[in-house]
Subunit: 448 residues, 2 copies
């Protein structure tokens, strides 16, 4: 019998845990699941005999290490900053590890030690990062295998609301951590390369510099730039690619409206508002509009919007931004925290709502003197509010990778991510059986 230790049983772990437990008898696995909330674990184990619910502080090494020592594989769904210390325990105790998170510099530095210990530390194997790497690398390797030269790669992902649950003027609901949505694009350079030129976009223009995309059967999307597209050149072995861009998808109009919050100053998380405890949405708005002895907040906001953006006005009214009812529990809050409170009240998932993950890759390449474009799209709808699309697309690649590792189907050692065909091919094939699959369309570009 093999033992899997799962650290953290939060939202994004649901589908991964279900996958492992459903196969636990057949594969002869014991699945030991730790969370600070024992009830959450029990609910996710759902009666499966091979599941063991544990409640201890997974962040405490002395509690965690005996469990790691007894396990054949650790899956860490803890916040990303804790992964390096879990990884050091795994190296000490010679236990393989999977995390869905980006490889931090601290994690990358453990590569040789992990190899010396004979263990594999697989990272970036959720949806983004994860499915994006695997699906893109499959196309990269295919083009390169045919002798083609890739000249442009653009990739977009969005966590959105499913069309059947899309019933508000923002065409958006929070299907993931709202704080990350409110702070998106802050705290770093947004950079990419376009036709060989480095380009940088400051936060104040991020939600204005938009690409329009569409997916057959799912309508239009807009994409804004992700913070750093450039590191992907090295990861994907495309060091000299003239154009590389990564973006986040929203429905049309969302970004233009979101930019109004940025322009007002409402997404700032760097200071505490003097009067946060007494704020209403209306007085919060007024804090960012000029003083006027007689004009209403509505009038001043219309002037701020200007005629060319007046079509966005209804979105803000719908959010209740002009209401003068007290917001609660906001003592000492930052503007971003106040805004989050206003948004969460209106943009949270309702009973029966389903989420949706959309991923779009666009490649351009040259082969035998001709130019071609490949568009590859994935749309996945969640099952319900536990087995969301976010949970499925993050958790299933992790779980499938776990199965492969326990069955000794991966020979690689050290700190890595899923960019090798031996790893991504079987995972992408099995993901397709869960309706997580890409529709690819290739066209020849007209010569200029």
């Amino acid at each position: 019998m093999k033992t899997i230790l799962v650290l953290g049983a939060g939202l994004s772990a649901s589908s991964m845990i279900r996958y492992l437990l459903e196969r636990s008898a057949h594969e002869n696995w014991q699945v030991r699941i730790v969370d600070h909330d024992l009830e959450v674990v029990k609910r996710k184990i759902n009666g499966f005999e091979r599941g063991v619910a544990l409640s201890f502080n997974a962040l405490d090494a002395s509690e965690r290490r005996p469990e790691i020592e007894n396990a054949d594989l650790v899956i860490s769904m803890l916040p990303a900053r804790f992964h390096p210390e879990v990884a050091r325990d795994c190296i000490d105790l010679k236990t393989h590890l999977i995390t869905p998170s980006y490889i931090s510099p601290e994690m990358a530095a453990l590569d040789q030690e992990a190899k010396d210990a004979g263990i594999l530390i697989m990272n970036e194997i959720g949806v983004d990062p994860g499915i994006d790497h695997m699906s893109a690398m499959k196309i990269v390797h295919d083009i390169q295998g045919r002798g083609g030269k890739i000249v442009s790669f653009k990739s977009y992902t969005g966590g959105l609301i499913a069309p059947e649950s899309d019933n508000n003027p923002w065409n958006y609901k929070f299907t993931w951590n709202p704080r990350n949505v409110v702070l998106a694009g802050q705290g770093g350079a947004t950079s990419f390369v376009q036709n060989g030129q480095y380009k940088y976009i400051p936060y104040n223009r991020l939600f204005k510099h938009l690409d329009t995309l569409s997916v057959e059967g799912y309508g239009d999307f807009t994409g804004y730039a992700n913070r750093n597209s450039l590191s992907y050149r090295e990861t994907y072995g495309l060091e000299d690619i003239p154009t590389i861009f990564r973006g986040t998808l929203r429905r049309p109009g969302f970004c233009e409206a979101w930019n109004v919050f940025i322009e007002l100053g409402m997404t700032d998380d760097m200071y505490h508002m003097y009067n946060a405890a007494e704020l209403t949405p209306r007085s919060f708005l007024n804090s960012y509009l000029p003083y006027h002895p007689t004009k209403s907040a509505e009038e001043k906001f219309r002037e701020f919007l200007r005629e060319d953006r007046m079509h966005l006005y209804d979105r803000f009214e719908w959010l209740g931004l002009f209401k003068d009812e007290p917001l609660i529990d906001l003592e000492n809050a930052t503007p971003a925290q106040v805004l989050q409170k206003i948004l969460v009240d209106k943009l949270s998932l309702q009973e029966g709502d389903k989420d949706m993950i959309v991923m779009i890759h666009e490649f351009e390449y040259k082969l035998n003197g001709s130019s071609f474009r490949i568009q590859s799209n994935m749309v996945n709808i969640g099952e319900d509010q536990v087995y969301t699309s976010m949970s499925n697309t993050v958790g299933l690649p992790v779980a499938i990778c776990a199965k492969m590792m326990l069955n000794n189907n991966i020979q690689e050692l050290g700190v890595t991510l899923p960019i090798q065909p031996e790893i991504y091919n079987p995972i992408l094939e099995e993901l397709a059986t869960f309706d997580i699959s890409f529709v690819e369309r290739e066209t020849e570009l007209n010569p200029v």
Copy 2:
């Protein structure tokens, strides 16, 4: 004989040192001046017998403490972050201290210890902070003494180029640390109170939210908001004032044009540019403009500016922003560092140039059912490039205060700033003999 120890003999210390040395024989002072550059100190001592040039690392306590022990008064012109540790030495060794810098929380915490040691630690006694406090408090106390109630206080200061040296389209030259100018307004909330309402301005609107002011004989200025106006309510004892605002002065058009740099993203100091070492002003500009296969940087920049700001175009052309000649020594630079390099090349003081400090206070108050406005302006022009207006207005209040302290004319102890009449009255009177004086104009406001 009394001994004064001056730590740091940089630009802003020149006038203070001259004042002390010129009076050293008459007052029976020895002035011991420390800087890492002995030649700088010797030049500033300029043959005065009572001046002693010292060169050691003033940041090293073991080198500094014997000098502090032997001194009657220490004047620290070191970077503000070092003042608390100098203050702790002064407390230990029972030596009075003056610094021109803001009272940091660490400095404020030393108040009781300074009182217990029987010493005075005078801070915020340069120009801004310093002359602003003293001149404003004189008016505040005067209005309050007559029974008036202050309802609005706005105060603006600018370090600018003197009219006779103002010969470029920006109407600006660097008369102070260029880095602080490039980063102005970043890294904190800009907040104030207007008619009882808290107002916040994000960085992306800071240089658009402008007040227009004028000073007779000196023309028009625009003022943009300083980071935090609100702490002045407590300092000035105006806790309930409905309107308080502090701003920085520039010549008209400067702020509108500066905002173009912000909008482009060129003032960001949080990331390093990939290709900084190879940048030209033109490629730097292109990094922030959208890619286009045929349009020139000039065309794209004009589109970015838009018709309503086209009158600013010449300022950017004059700066050389479209030139394709390499910038040097910028390896790994941030955008703010690249921009600073471009600006310093064009906006530095030329031989014979003089600087100018402008300060404008605007008070509104009610008295006996009527409303009044007081405008109080100070304009000071520098003597030359050593005894600049910046050096005079920072250094002379420090030096006059030093004289008062050595003559036992100040009874206060502890960590303080110059907001008491016993302190500001004699200093303001003596400053007037150096042509640093305020012109006050009072008008009755028409009842609404």
